[in-house]
């Protein structure tokens, strides 16, 4: 980065970071996603990967977003980061981050926000790093871009940060290229990069799926430690219920592009209300809990093209058959708070129907 000295501190970080401390405490949640719809316009039809997601992330909160592949959990936060590529597009909804709608920001403003106030780490740490540059340089770049630090100062800060994320011999590791790092070390470097901009929100998309259990435990501990020390809000996107139970304050379960249940961690695991959540929890073998058989959710995740306006889980739902519910296949249940903080989208718990807003046809067409 040669242009760094010419660039002063990016203006976008100044009002958010300096001038608005009062707003911050006063305002509600850090992130408030309302009615988010992200659709993919493919040759095979419109894939409604995210279709009406409402979600909040409180300040200093660790939120777990759980779902299987294709549930839209990753796309939801790619949308928040405005990183959805064609043929995908956010077609509807608001993404309020600290009171500002991210959908209205310019690309340049969004870029500044991404490095500084929202950090993101991914599943494949080694391929998420640029193979051509040393690890330390890539972290230093973030400092250069967002704080206008010179090369030397940036490098020194990078080493500090590497030590902070638990990389032993930071001096040497900073000079390593990504392929010389193990998966665990690379993930630590990714975390360091994400934290370099002092983000208010850290989005971790399956951060430990590619790692071994003992390394996974180290990384989870690190994330939890950092979260406690820095007060950063964390969104942990994962398919692993165990991870969620370990470090999350609150959990949202996604299925086929929608949130089907949302609750603080304890109630969600102790009294899951949605049949899908129940099935998911029952289908995972748990250390120390011997069961003769695992619960099975029959069938598979539906194709997200041309879904009927109905409960998306209905075709696989055994509770629907047991209770003889008929409206499941005729209307979409709304996500309703049935107990304090515990929301569920199921006709077993509430008769509320969600009205599906008509997304203008020309929006849907390309």
């Amino acid at each position: 980065m040669t242009g760094a000295p010419a660039d002063p501190v990016p203006p976008a970080t100044a009002p958010g970071g300096e001038a608005a401390p009062d707003d911050r405490t006063a305002a509600g949640p850090l992130l408030d996603v309302r009615g988010l719809r992200t659709w993919f316009f493919t040759s095979g039809g419109v894939v409604k990967a995210v279709d009406g997601v409402d979600l909040t992330v409180g300040r200093g909160e660790v939120l777990g977003l759980v779902g299987e592949s294709g549930s839209g959990k990753s796309v939801t936060f790619l949308s928040v980061m405005r990183l959805v590529d064609a043929p995908g597009r956010i077609v509807d909804g608001e993404i309020l981050f600290d009171g500002r709608d991210l959908r209205t920001l310019s690309d340049a403003e969004m870029r500044d926000l991404r490095g500084s106030r929202i950090g993101m780490i991914f599943q494949q740490p080694i391929s998420s790093l640029n193979p051509a540059y040393r690890a330390g340089f890539q972290i230093a770049e973030v400092f250069e871009a967002h704080e206008g630090l010179k090369r030397k100062a940036g490098w020194a800060r990078a080493k500090e940060l590497l030590a902070r994320v638990g990389i032993g011999d930071a001096e040497r590791r900073a000079r390593a290229y990504p392929h010389e790092l193990s998966g665990g070390q690379a993930q630590r470097v990714m975390i360091a990069m994400a934290l370099a901009g002092h983000p208010d929100l850290l989005v971790a998309d399956e951060p430990t799926t590619a790692l071994d259990v003992t390394i996974q435990a180290q990384i989870l501990d690190l994330i939890a430690d950092l979260q406690r020390d820095l007060g950063t809000s964390v969104v942990l996107i994962t398919h692993d219920l165990g991870i969620v139970a370990e470090i999350c304050d609150r959990v949202a379960v996604m299925y086929a592009g929608q949130i089907v249940e949302e609750a603080p961690t304890r109630p969600l695991f102790l009294e899951p209300k949605h049949p899908y959540t129940q099935g998911l929890i029952g289908s995972v073998p748990v250390i120390g809990q011997r069961r003769e058989r695992l619960a099975v959710i029959p069938g598979r995740v539906p194709n997200l093209v041309d879904l009927p306006v109905a409960c998306r889980f209905a075709p696989r739902c055994s509770a629907r058959v047991e209770h003889g519910l008929t409206q499941c296949t005729e209307a979409l249940p709304a996500l309703v708070e049935v107990e304090p903080g515990h929301k569920v989208r199921c006709f077993l718990h509430s008769d509320a129907v969600e009205a599906v807003p008509e997304v203008p046809v020309e929006v849907g067409r390309r």
Partner: protein, 359 residues
């Protein structure tokens, strides 16, 4: 523990009938090293000893779990047991026949009795062959006539919960879970006595995993084949297996029944593995044995006990110099490779109650 004749590694699981049986598969001193090439001309710069001296007995009708982290050699060991990879040292006896030396008819007969299910449901089926062709291939190799083959393919498909007329379809028309069912059908169509399942669910979605696990369990009970289940997920192994072997850097470091290994692990590595698993139960107290550092490179394994670089209880002067052996603990059939827990230095174990008399 009876130790007449050839020493048996780990007692047979007294499963249903309660009497000891001769092992179906017996491995002694297995070593497999892969050359590592490097430099400008791709010369061999070293060897990774993926499996480095493994003794293992597998008894008829049992389900043995083979667990460990990536690079521990569990998949390689699985293939050595099947004779799919030639061992550099050591022998595998299947029902008394040396797998590494079998040729011609003898080998063909062995092949029919030992099968494998793969991890990746996408690369394990020929994309250009129909499902039926893939399943029938093994039957054809063993001289089953065409008409009978078709019948058997249909039976195999129905056995794994697919429809008989799926035989005419191609792999790309199926989902990952369905493909894994086909892979199981292919292995079971030749009616093997011994099956190695190499991480059969780790590539699948959570809700599909339980379908396949239940299926494997049902089939094992129904057909009573011997199953070696290779996995990195301890919870899955606990759910499915009668006995468990824990591997670290090419060696079996602990072996015992499910209750022994999960209930009272001997090896500190097993303890760390067990405590590292996130449990979907918010009320469960976290007592995490935190392992420092990463798995050492198998190219240059540590001296002495291979685990001593990460071990929370390692004793200097013992663990870093002396190589431990797989020795029995207090429970019969429960063996581990640790100086402080099963070896000659039990007195040095910080966690050991001094009152416990030596058995």
């Amino acid at each position: 523990m009876s130790a007449e004749g050839t020493p048996s590694v780990g007692a047979p699981a007294t499963r249903r009938d309660g009497q000891e049986r001769a092992p179906l598969v017996s491995a002694r001193g297995l070593v497999k090293a892969f050359p590592v090439r490097g430099g400008a001309f791709g010369q061999v710069v070293g060897h990774v000893r993926a499996v480095d001296g493994v003794d293992l007995d597998i008894f008829p009708g049992e389900v043995l779990g083979l667990v460990g982290e990536s690079g521990c050699g569990k998949s390689t060991l699985g293939r050595l047991l099947l004779g799919l990879l030639p061992a550099d040292e050591g022998t595998v006896l299947f029902d008394g026949v040396d797998v590494g030396r079998a040729r011609g008819r003898e080998l063909a007969a062995l092949r029919r009795q030992m099968q494998i299910v793969f991890q990746d449901p996408y690369s394990s089926l020929d994309p250009r062959a129909t499902i039926g062709d893939s399943i029938a291939e093994g039957l054809r190799a063993h001289g089953v006539p065409r008409a009978r083959r078709e019948q058997k393919v249909r039976e195999a498909l129905e056995l794994v919960g697919l429809e008989a007329d799926h035989a005419r379809r191609y792999p790309h028309q199926f989902s990952g879970g369905q493909r894994q069912r086909v892979g199981i059908a292919r292995a079971l169509a030749v009616e093997p006595r011994f099956l190695v399942a190499d991480e059969p669910v780790s590539a699948l979605d959570v809700s599909i995993q339980s379908q396949i696990l239940n299926l494997l369990r049902d089939l094992q009970e129904q057909l009573d084949f011997t199953l070696v289940f290779v996995a990195h997920d301890l919870a899955v192994v606990e759910h499915l297996c009668d006995r468990v072997a824990v591997m670290y850097l090419g060696r079996v470091v602990e072996l015992g029944t499910r209750d022994q290994v999960f209930g009272a692990p001997l090896h500190p590595y097993t303890e760390a593995l067990l405590s590292a698993i996130p449990v979907p139960d918010p009320d469960r107290p976290r007592r995490r044995v935190r392992l420092s550092g990463e798995m050492p490179s198998p190219l240059h394994p540590p001296s002495g006990c291979r685990f001593h670089t990460r071990c929370p209880i390692a004793v200097e002067g013992v663990c870093d110099t002396e190589v431990p052996a797989l020795l029995p603990g207090d429970d019969p059939g429960h063996v581990a490779e640790c100086h402080l827990r099963t070896g000659a230095h039990r007195d040095l174990d910080p966690g050991r109650a001094p009152a416990a008399p030596d058995a």
